[in-house]
């Protein structure tokens, strides 16, 4: 780390000496000193280009004061900068007038009207009347540049923010400037479009109304919007965002700049997924199956039915007759209530947020979890079965940047080439159980620049993905455990596709554990619950298998998309059909509703308040903007209601009650206080290890697009200094030590884990036409967020069968042909063949998206050998 004096630079700003950071631009240093220089093209998360010339200031040089773009010129010692002279004002006003010359005055119907920096600047400094009497530039009005984004070229001020975002941030220059001079326009190639997962960002960063979304266009006036800060529910990364609404309807989501997480970017799934909340398929009331009919009922009737069946099952068969699946999309508050109900009152331990193809909870709870910024600053990041753009899209942007800037080195061990392979140092293709061997063969010492002996993994991070949907939890976990045994000081970042799988694991939503990773052993646990489980329950996958064999009475499905993660559709259907009572706690009717006995209406995203814990273990607040639809209730309220109908009282009346109990009994959450969240855009990382929590400053990084600033202040925002340190209620030293105790127990968890997980059977066959099947996760996978959002529902690409050129040759198939996957007596729907050497020989890769066509194949699991047959 550089020392303070090296890093600071004193310069003169409007006659006053200011200290800024070395390497900062004038515009940034001035802003931090409270002087706002107007700008359009400058975006703090992209490289400056000095194109719009709005930020011109005078800088003294050998030839006196000259006008220089303050976004581009870095501060230097004793530099003399003037931002308030007549010359500066004249230049800036000149630029403004030039920009307005050809800009249409359709502000009344422009989405940006009311939050438009061009409008605001004109209001503040512009002349009342235009001197431009010539014909304005004309273009055909908005043209689609993607399925999501419309471009109005007349409004465009050619700042290049969108084109730079595409090339610099995403690395996919699918739009560029075309033409020259006054005819310059933003354009995709003829016949192509701006197809990326990140297209919505260009709408947010557009300083005028040139880029609009099909969904928000003409929908609201910005001054009517209310907003609250929230955490994205699109994946486990937990991007910070602002949810905006008008008249009890969510209208728009904008990315909020968090230095720790998303740098203001969002993926399109996160940005537009909120639309699912307004789905016509929402569950408004409880439903109950009566004979062949599925009928609307009141809460009381539904709860009574549940209580009766549940009580009977527990009494007659016992706790092993009940299982609870899901919860990864519920809030921490919800999950804790459900865990307390089942593990604390009913003694049911078969609760699992994962379905057998995830990661062993001990690797998440006991290893040292890296923060995102630690990942980016590590020596080497090993991406284990991770296709980050598909799994944690915004992390892809940040990892790509870090790799390009050579801040870290990427090594991939994956089933197929990913969008990061181009910037990775090394990519090893390994299908199925070959992964463990491939990982074992990596020479991480040399990649990390470490000595061959004595290296224990300092500076290594293993990002454990779940790109391969068929890969089992034990295969994945064993491979990671082997790595951690070799490199005990390495850190881990798990990848979860649901927003709160991490929180669910922290709170005991997995077999054998209680909140905070405590064991079921009542004598050790700090849990004063009346009826703890006697023994470890079934995992999610085992519960499904048990149900399919009629060994289960009652199955609870908590939250959306619980079973869509399970590739074996036949298993799911059998399990639901053969359970006595299936209770779905959900906000939207899905394709499995026919197999469910009770649906309890759950409030949807935007209708509840709470917290998610992201993959780093960072807690972020989830904001509520809407009144829940119909008689829908929050997850924890439903758990409490079931408890009540069973004669118990969970003791929760509001979210604070839940947190009080969590903090009291979970060592991992010790010191947490939800109030911390309102102070920090970055949230709080668990476990809290110090008595003082550093709160990150809330920078207003891109005032041109940052939401939540009224239009006038957006142009000259107040820059209050927030409190940077917050006292944590670590009541006694003992408690602080207990946090350490939990951590010390880690020492032998790897050995325990390795002894529990048997090494996988190696799949091998001499027949080269037998291929290992791999299903790979895509962002637009089967999920309510995608299917119920009008913007997203058509974006999932058709699933393809991907094989290498050698495999294609051996199987007698070629690019573009239709073929199906055949296994034993079953075969898939026909799909299009894609031949590319991004997949290894002797394997076949199929996209795991809705309608992936493999529903008909029974017993889908890792190591399946299949054939690809021309249709």
């Amino acid at each position: 780390m550089t020392n303070e004096s090296d890093a600071s630079v004193a310069f003169v700003l409007d006659g006053k000496t200011i200290v800024g950071h070395k390497g900062d631009s004038i515009i940034k240093a001035a802003q931090e000193a409270g002087t706002y220089i107007p700008r359009f093209c400058y975006h703090p998360r992209m490289k400056p280009v000095g194109m719009c010339r709005m930020c011109l200031v005078e800088v003294k040089g050998p030839r006196g004061y000259t006008l220089q773009p303050s976004c581009f010129v870095q501060i230097s010692p004793d530099m003399d900068v003037v931002t308030d002279s007549q010359v500066v004002k004249k230049a800036q006003d000149g630029v403004l007038e030039y920009l307005l010359a050809n800009h249409p005055l359709d502000c009344p119907v422009c989405d940006k009207g009311g939050e438009c920096p061009l409008q605001d600047q004109t209001l503040a400094h512009g002349p009342g009347e235009s001197r431009y009497v010539e014909e304005k530039r004309h273009f055909a009005k908005p043209i689609p540049i993607s399925e999501i984004v419309l471009l109005d070229r007349e409004r465009c001020i050619q700042c290049g923010r969108c084109t730079r975002f595409a090339s610099e941030v995403v690395g996919k220059p699918l739009i560029d400037f075309a033409g020259r001079g006054a005819h310059i326009e933003v354009a995709p190639a003829p016949g192509s479009s701006f197809d990326t997962y990140f297209s919505g960002n260009i709408i947010q960063i557009c300083p005028v109304g040139a880029l609009t979304s099909k969904s928000y266009r003409f929908k609201a006036r910005p001054w009517d919007l209310e907003q609250s800060e929230s955490t994205c529910a699109g994946c486990g990364l937990g991007c910070r965002m602002a949810v905006q609404s008008s008249q009890n309807e969510m209208t728009r989501v904008l990315g909020v700049d968090s230095d720790a997480i998303n740098h203001s970017w969002l993926c399109d799934k996160g940005r537009f997924g909120f639309e699912a909340t307004a789905s016509p398929n929402r569950v408004r009331t409880p439903y109950l199956r009566k004979g062949d009919n599925f009928v609307e009922v009141g809460w009381f009737e539904a709860l009574t039915k549940i209580a009766k069946t549940l009580t009977a099952a527990l009494e007659k068969v016992g706790t092993s007759s009940v299982a609870v699946l899901g919860g990864g999309a519920l809030t921490n508050e919800d999950i804790f209530a459900w865990v307390k109900l089942f593990k604390g009152y009913l003694g049911v331990d078969s609760c699992d947020v994962q379905l057998g193809n995830g990661i062993d909870p001990s690797l998440v709870l006991q290893s040292s979890v890296a923060t995102i910024n630690e990942v980016l600053d590590s020596r080497v990041v090993v991406l284990v079965d991770a296709d980050i753009e598909e799994e944690l899209p915004v992390l892809f942007l940040r990892l790509r940047e870090a790799a390009l800037e050579k801040r870290t080195r990427l090594v991939e061990v994956v089933d197929h080439l990913t969008s990061l392979s181009g910037v990775a140092m090394e990519t090893v293709l390994a299908v199925g159980s070959e992964m463990e061997t491939a990982l074992g063969n990596l020479n991480l010492e040399s990649l990390a620049g470490a000595p061959l002996a004595g290296f224990e993994g300092e500076g290594l991070v293993f990002v454990v993905g779940q790109s391969s949907v068929l890969r089992t939890q034990s295969v994945r976990s064993r491979a990671v455990a082997q790595l951690l045994k070799r490199y005990p000081n390495a850190k881990v970042l798990p990848v979860f596709s649901k927003p709160n799988t991490m929180g669910a694991l922290h709170l005991g939503m997995c077999p054998g554990l209680l909140p905070g990773g405590q064991s079921l052993d009542a004598s050790k646990a700090q849990v004063a619950w009346p009826n703890l489980p006697a023994s470890k329950g079934m995992s999610g996958h085992d519960a499904l298998v048990a149900a399919s064999k009629q060994d289960l009475e009652v199955l609870f499905l908590l939250g959306p998309d619980v079973l869509s993660e399970c590739p074996d559709r036949q298993l799911v259907e059998r399990a639901l059909e053969r359970s006595s009572l299936v209770v779905a706690v959900d906000s939207i009717f899905g394709d499995l509703t026919d197999l469910v006995d009770v649906v309890l209406p759950l409030s949807a995203f935007g209708e509840y308040i709470g917290t998610f814990t992201n993959v780093e273990g960072r807690i972020g607040s989830v904001g509520q903007k809407l009144v829940p639809l119909g008689v829908a209730q929050k997850g924890w309220e439903i758990a409490s209601a079931i408890a009540t109908s069973l004669g118990y009282d969970l003791g929760f009346e509001k979210e604070e009650d839940i947190w009080r109990e969590i903090v009291a009994l979970s060592p991992m959450h010790r010191g947490f206080n939800p109030k911390l969240l309102s102070r920090s855009v970055d949230g709080v990382v668990l476990p809290i290890k110090t008595k003082k929590v550093e709160i990150s400053k809330r920078h207003l990084l891109d005032p041109v697009a940052t939401p939540g600033i009224s239009s006038v202040t957006r142009q000259a925002p107040p820059l209050e200094e927030p409190e940077t340190v917050f006292d944590v209620e670590l009541a006694t030293n003992d408690e602080a030590e207990q946090v350490d105790v939990v951590q010390n127990e880690r020492s032998n968890y790897i050995d325990v884990l390795l002894s529990e997980l048997k090494s996988p059977d190696m799949v091998a066959s001499d027949d080269e036409s037998l291929l290992q099947l791999s299903l790979i996760r895509r962002l637009y996978s089967k999920s309510q967020m995608v299917e119920e959002s009008p913007t997203l529902c058509d974006l999932a690409s058709e699933p393809k069968i991907r094989v290498s050129s050698r495999t294609a040759l051996l199987s007698g198939i070629s690019q573009g042909e239709l073929a199906f996957i055949a296994r034993e007596n079953s075969r898939s729907d026909p799909m299009v063949i894609s031949v590319s050497d991004s997949v290894p020989d002797r394997s076949v890769v199929v996209d795991f998206v809705d309608g992936f066509g493999l529903e008909a194949i029974s017993g889908l699991e890792e190591g399946n050998l299949v054939k690809v047959v021309k249709a």
Partner: protein, 209 residues
Amino acid sequence: MGRFKQQILTEALEIVKLYPEAKSATIPLCHLAQSVDGYLTKDAIDHIAELTGTTPAEVYGTASFYDMIQLHPVGRYVIGVCTNIACMLQGGYELLEEAEGTFGAAVGETSPDGLFTVEEVECLATCDRAPCLHVNYRYFGPLNAEGVAKLKEDLIGGQLESKVPVHGVLSRVKRQTPELIPMDEVDNLRASEDASKAERTSAQGGSNA
């Protein structure tokens, strides 16, 4: 054509090899595509993107910046009349009008027979022969009405076939040289040259230059 084929593809691959970074070949390849079609087709854009490791949007963005790259079909002969100051002073606009009439196409348009596309262009650096024009970038001037009529006659009659090839300023530019010296070999050469230069200058007690 669309995509490059046969000998044109071979030429394209040769061109790409001339540059340390393939993207540099974008404009030469656009010229090459035009030598076949007269303009840059969508397929050619896609193929150039493949050959240069860029995206079609970048190729289109680059191509559309330059006046010589045509994004729409043009006539067999593209006629560019200069109206810039030196020609204007000598009757450039009158020549343009004459050309539009004689060739049967307004500025930016192609004659109905598909033979001529007329453009108004900036200075052709042939100002001692003002007013002048180019036909497929072969220069003619000074021209008056009779000159334009004669020019059309000669073009149609084939008298100018050797002077004015159809499309593509690169159609007669053929690089006939050995393979380029690999860059790492050059790097080594320069490094050793720099080392001996450093020795010389330190022997001389250090001079600048």
